[in-house]
Symmetry: C2
Subunit: 339 residues, 2 copies
DNA sequence: ATTTCTCGGTTAAACGTTTAACTGAACAAA
DNA sequence: TTTGTTCAGTTAAACGTTTAACCGAGAAAT
């Protein structure tokens, strides 16, 4: 049968309160008593019952992790890495993480995840874009929420974000430093904050280099930022401009689409056109040539989200924060000095 | 403040035991009383406290899900899908799933995952190959274990497996039905049961078609079943054989390696060589040509593992089972009739 | 009419931990 | 010597649920 605090108390010759005080590192206990109790805990391999502890403390010891189905099933494990970052951080702590996905088209009639409904989590991490109706429904809860890689206009939630502006600058400066002046920008929907900020970085880098960007070299639309749209916008870019020698695609999916367009139209990468992406998805290395990209530290995003949420749970007077996690450029073979 | 059973009892004008009996669908309660209580539960939005319930029932309401780091971070979300299959199945039930990864080189000195140590799970799902030292250490626990996509010689655990033999037959028969007789098999380490069984299927399909397989067309080694090794074994196959017109690679990674070798050596797929893989990883569709493959139903593997574990938890007299989840062949453009 | 049984509810102990209030011994201050 | 304080432990109630044993009313059997 399982060992309880009573067994430890009996064997150590102390009260159950003493054992509890030792387990919880209360400094009222003398070091002699503490040692004796710890020795007994070890000998009996005692672990406190989380259900008993949670009942008394009115906590659950769990954190909910929510993302959309499609995000978790993407070929590149972007959100899987964010989740694992949080799980690594939680691993030897006092919280478990419960993951669930919601439909990308979640509506007001859909129920919230069960761990919210039955109050089995103390706080929530939301990874990536989620439907606004989910956020609305969440608003009825008082538990703290941390949002990763998505911005919402809810000032009650902390946000862990990619430093997209700086990433856009890094990508564009890399091309400029390699002598490129006629640089195209391939983006999806600039109502999407990440894409907007990456374009912002693209523009800032031009300003800093005293190069006047040409709006005709900025191709965006309201389409999904996927390969196909990357392909389409690349076609638009290259048919309406001459002498483009560098391209910064706002994410790797679009970069791959751009790469396909260039190959289909007999451009050589990087001899004719240098190409930079953003994300550093796993597939990048398989590409020919391997893609230069802005690396997003997914594991760290998840770990930071977890740390911020836990600190809010421990001290609910902490104000929500917005944290920009830094990025770096990984130079591979899809960029080179202009000839 | 949170609603408890006391609030419901007070408002409904019954005892807390009555409310508990209603919540738990005990048939001693009259339907009049039941309706009254259910109405009050709904009005107050009452959810039972899992910690109180778990304390009394001496259960945790959680299932642990364990896999190795590298498995979870693979580019193709094979294990992510197995996990999601389990999570989908758990979603509206009475168990939560706690996921953790362990190191692929877990040793006897590494501690078991925390949710085992502190007895926060009622049962465990192991996904994929895990280090033998982990299994040894797990042996000290009495909780039920279900293993997915991995075989171990522990008869105390249920196994949910891919029907590899039948998959190997499907792959090989597809080639044979397209007129191929000189078919190569590309495998990794045949001490790995899955690979061994797929080869077994390859052989059985030959027997059924009264085609004598040539052992010189079976290329395996003790290497990792990855792309590079697929490339290497393809080289070995094609340099030591003439007129190979079909290849069955034991997994998609190796199939991709084979594909690269063929392209590097001016073979046309499928005109010169037809190629079949096994797994149906996400990348298959991106390949040129898209890969014919044996589709492994990952989501279903996970869901079945969950169902089997829950049935064992509910009735611990149930004997461990070995379940083979069926596969199917997806014919894409990497195979065609022999000319 | 009396006794026994069934039904539908209720009472109260238990689960394992936490912690406020209590306690006795030892020490310090008056 | 007396009084007050501190220390290091202990006692017992509380947390929210489950459920065995209990209970009163009504029905059935004698």
């Amino acid at each position: 049968m399982n060992v309880t605090i009573k067994d430890v108390a009996l064997k150590a010759g102390v009260s159950i309160a003493t054992v509890s005080l030792v387990v919880n590192n209360n400094n009222r206990i003398s070091s002699e008593t503490r040692k004796k109790v710890l020795k007994t805990i070890k000998a009996l391999n005692y672990y406190p019952s989380r259900s008993a502890r949670d009942l008394v403390s009115k906590k659950t010891g769990n954190i909910g992790f929510i993302l959309t189905d499609d995000h978790f099933l993407r070929t590149e494990p972007f959100y899987t890495k964010i989740f694992l970052g949080a799980e690594f951080e939680a691993r030897e702590g006092e919280y478990y993480i419960l993951l669930t996905t919601v439909k990308a088209d979640f509506t007001a009639s859909d129920p919230l995840p069960r761990f919210i409904r039955d109050k089995s989590v103390d706080g929530i991490i939301i990874a990536g874009k989620v439907p606004p109706k989910l956020i609305e429904k969440l608003g009825n809860n008082s538990m703290p929420v941390v949002v990763v890689d998505y911005q919402m206009e809810n000032k009650n939630y902390s946000h862990i974000l990619i430093d997209n502006i700086h990433g856009g600058i890094l990508a564009t400066e890399h091309l400029i430093q390699n002598g490129h002046k006629k640089i195209g920008f391939i983006g999806g929907d600039i109502n999407h904050p990440s894409i907007y900020e990456r374009l912002n970085g693209f523009n800032k880098a031009h300003e800093r280099a005293n190069i006047i960007p040409d709006n005709n070299r900025i191709k965006t639309n309201t389409g999904y930022p996927d390969r196909q749209n990357g392909y389409n916008l690349a076609r638009e870019l290259f048919t309406s401009n001459k002498n483009i020698t560098g391209v910064f695609a706002c994410n790797d999916a679009m970069a791959i689409g751009v790469m396909h367009y260039l190959k289909d139209n007999n451009y050589k990468i990087p001899q004719d056109v240098s190409l930079v992406g953003f994300d550093d998805v796993e597939a990048d290395l398989l590409l020919d040539p391997p893609l230069t990209t802005v690396r997003v530290p997914k594991i760290e995003l998840g770990a930071e989200a977890f740390r911020v949420l836990v600190s809010q749970l421990k001290n609910n007077k902490i104000q929500p924060k917005k944290i920009l996690v830094p990025v770096e450029i990984l130079v591979r073979n899809s960029t080179k000095k202009i000839q």
